[in-house]
Symmetry: C2
Subunit: 458 residues, 2 copies
């Protein structure tokens, strides 16, 4: 467990989080870490990932452990490993040592949990073996895909309140994740010219993450077909005229996520059409970041991105008309069909396991409008929130085809054909809201075309 | 789907596998691919891995698909993706195109499956959402951790019969996996001298796998503490006197696994004590491989490894007595507590999802003896079986401590102390049983200390 500089600091942080939680709720809380999930057979499992809520209050990824919080107290429930397991998996820390390390007030074997559950709220974990156990022990369904009810809902709201606003330790971890994500992207840029497939660039990027003893926070997107928005294949060959879109983020050992996207030319040189559109997207990116400060509505940032992108597309001649009017008609969504970003924390879409509880302020709901409906965050920004800003431009056949009649005159279809070498561009940075405005955690990674070209060629 | 050289070859292979299956059973078979498993929230899932039995009979990793085999016929059940999904995930192949590609005789949406299940046998998949569905649709419990019963057991036995003996296509895939695994190990050796942590060596190895658009077949072991047998941590710093144990294998896009282990010195130079023990392990490795041919009992290969290791440890002075007698007293298990290897195929421990059905010949059961009890394969070898040979030497505190009294005079404990810099050595190769003997699929990766030293230094 030589993870934090001193166990003392970890137990202080966790105590502080419990204090804040205790101010919001007056019932006990039990949080499960979850267990490994089998891949092709039981012993060949996916790498263990503790549930994010557990990581927030327990600090370290303990397999098959449970914590119970009541007022400011912390109890740990975990079984010591048997001697047979220790033969294969090595000596590990005993329950009391772990309890000491995280500052638990008491520690018990898992069998004791059953008698300490009265009146406790919980949050569903993702792995079915554990949520089945949660449901059985608590005597009610605890399902990861169903909205929480009663005290579980109260708990979820309280946790959202805490996790929305990152404390110093969270920010330290998030900075670490951002730093390694930046290094991964630099490695990607430095490899693209000599690589012959997407997979080779992905390897260069992920090897930085692995070498730093981190994992990817999500399945990387590294593709010359970024217009397939969730593209987790890496088999395409790289051609000289292609733009490569890389959406890759590192996750620290404690579970905190990075999330950065860059789009760069395989040849090392943007074509003039690619540069034109890139600069439109970059203008939206920069305009949004410039507006970020406490009190600003994230939805307004999204709408600013839509307007700035539209202005840019008008100026290059792809759109025709008054930008504000075009945005009103939702024309931008043809090329920018997703939201401007999301919360970032222990999850790459932070707390998305709770549906829109974290992303949407109470009383607000998703829009029905295409494009805006995919906005994942609709709240007023507060200091120490971490959000992404990720405008993009995509030529998605499934969107363009119906748009040909719908927006026959607002889009200059002939002009658009000149931009056939711009299938997809996204520029994504991580932005921490601060008291005075914002701080870009991924600022060490350049966004401008000339510096990116220099990195690739160098 | 541009995966196989020609769709025709894939459909022929699959037809051939169905023909063989139809000779063994006379009831219909339904095999589920399974679905993705969520990591920290539903949309952030682990990379999809289709069930191995599905991959064997469907050839390609189709998410949430089902196949039905009856006599030589193949039916595919899969839903076309909706336009909303295609927006995010791109255009994909339609049901009929996929059916055509794999040579299915008919294709249906998933809703049709329910009416085609009468009398069908199946195999449990790993992901709970899918095995719950299997159980509901078939009206009986289909659990991955419970032994199959009735026709499901008959099916499992028939599949074991097929999958034990690899066909040409399987061997082609296994050779691909072995080749990339070899390259990964070479990269590891070439990195170890300049690396400062285990994680950096792991990164060099896995980046080869990722760059070739493959995945790891299991969680890599890359550690200076190989005496922790299942070590999936990579945080240890590398010191000049350390031996690094790397157990890393690639898995092809179609799911076929590689599995190789090498142990090499961080400094590039084995110490004399390390070389002494390494050569003992290598002698066992070579002796076992030399004996492999059809008709040989794998258990005898295991016992040969025990004897050869014991002879070597007697000659270096760690064990005292007659080697055959020492093996009879199970002294070797103090330093070699696991089996000599296992089946390799679509799973790194092939068909371990079926318990010991594949590994152990009908009527044979696991031994109670420490060490031998971990032998995963106890069958007579046949041509086109692929097995691993992986003798090792480990100083596991949890085993050595009780052995101090049990084997007080048979182990020269003072002498053993001189070998403190040899915490763990394992040498593992993949061996294909052939008509005339065997072929080592990982033969391009050297095993001898001097060539390994040359690779590291070069």
């Amino acid at each position: 467990m030589p993870i934090y500089d001193s166990p003392n600091s970890l137990s202080n942080i966790l105590h502080c989080r419990r204090q804040k939680l205790a101010k919001l709720i007056d019932f006990p809380v039990v949080i499960w870490a979850g267990n490994t999930t089998p891949r092709n057979f039981a012993a060949n499992h996916f790498p263990f990932r503790a549930s994010s809520h557990f990581l927030y209050f327990a600090g370290i990824p303990l397999k098959n452990a449970v914590i119970r919080l009541e007022e400011e107290k912390l109890e740990l429930y975990i079984d010591n490993i048997t001697s047979d397991v220790s033969l294969w998996c090595g000596e590990t820390y005993q329950r009391e040592e772990i309890a000491d390390f995280i500052g638990a007030d008491a520690a018990f074997p898992l069998t004791e949990l059953e008698t300490h559950l009265f009146g406790a709220a919980t949050i569903a974990v993702q792995d079915p073996a554990t949520w089945t156990q949660q449901s059985q022990l608590l005597g009610r369904w605890i399902l990861p895909l169903s909205p929480p009810q009663g005290i579980d809902l109260e708990l979820a709201r309280a946790i959202v309140t805490l996790r929305l606003i990152h404390d110093d330790e969270a920010i330290r971890e998030l900075v670490k994740a951002a730093d390694i994500s930046v290094k991964a992207h630099l490695a990607g840029m430095q490899t693209v010219k000599s690589a012959s497939t997407e997979a080779e660039v992905r390897a260069a990027m992920e090897s930085i993450i692995i070498a730093n003893n981190m994992t990817t926070a999500y399945n990387s997107i590294v593709t010359v077909h970024g217009e397939v928005l969730h593209n987790n294949k890496y088999h395409n060959p790289l051609h000289s005229g292609d733009l490569l879109l890389a959406d890759v983020g590192a996750e620290t050992e404690m579970g905190w996520a990075g999330d950065i996207t860059r789009t760069f030319p395989v040849s090392g040189k943007f074509s003039s059409t690619q540069k034109d559109i890139y600069d439109v997207v970059l203008a939206a990116h920069d305009a949004c970041i410039a507006k970020i400060r406490p009190g600003v509505e994230y939805r307004d940032i999204h709408m600013l991105a839509c307007l700035t992108l539209t202005e840019g597309l008008v100026s290059v001649g792809i759109l025709q008309g008054d930008p504000a009017n075009l945005v009103e008609r939702n024309v931008h969504s043809v090329f920018f069909p997703h939201g401007i970003g999301h919360l970032l924390g222990l999850d790459v879409h932070d707390m998305e396991d709770l549906g829109d509880l974290a992303g949407y302020k109470e009383g607000r709901n998703r829009s029905d409008l295409f494009g805006l409906s995919y906005l994942r965050l609709n709240r007023s920004l507060q200091s120490n929130m971490l959000i992404t800003i990720e405008p993009g431009f995509y030529q998605v056949p499934a969107i363009l085809n119906p748009a040909r009649s719908k927006y026959k005159y607002l889009i200059n279809w002939e002009k658009l054909e000149l931009f056939a070498d711009v299938r997809s561009i996204r520029i994504e940075d991580e932005v921490l809201v601060t008291n005075v405005g914002s701080k870009v955690l991924s600022a060490d990674l350049p966004t401008d075309t000339s510096t990116i070209e220099e990195i690739i060629i160098s």
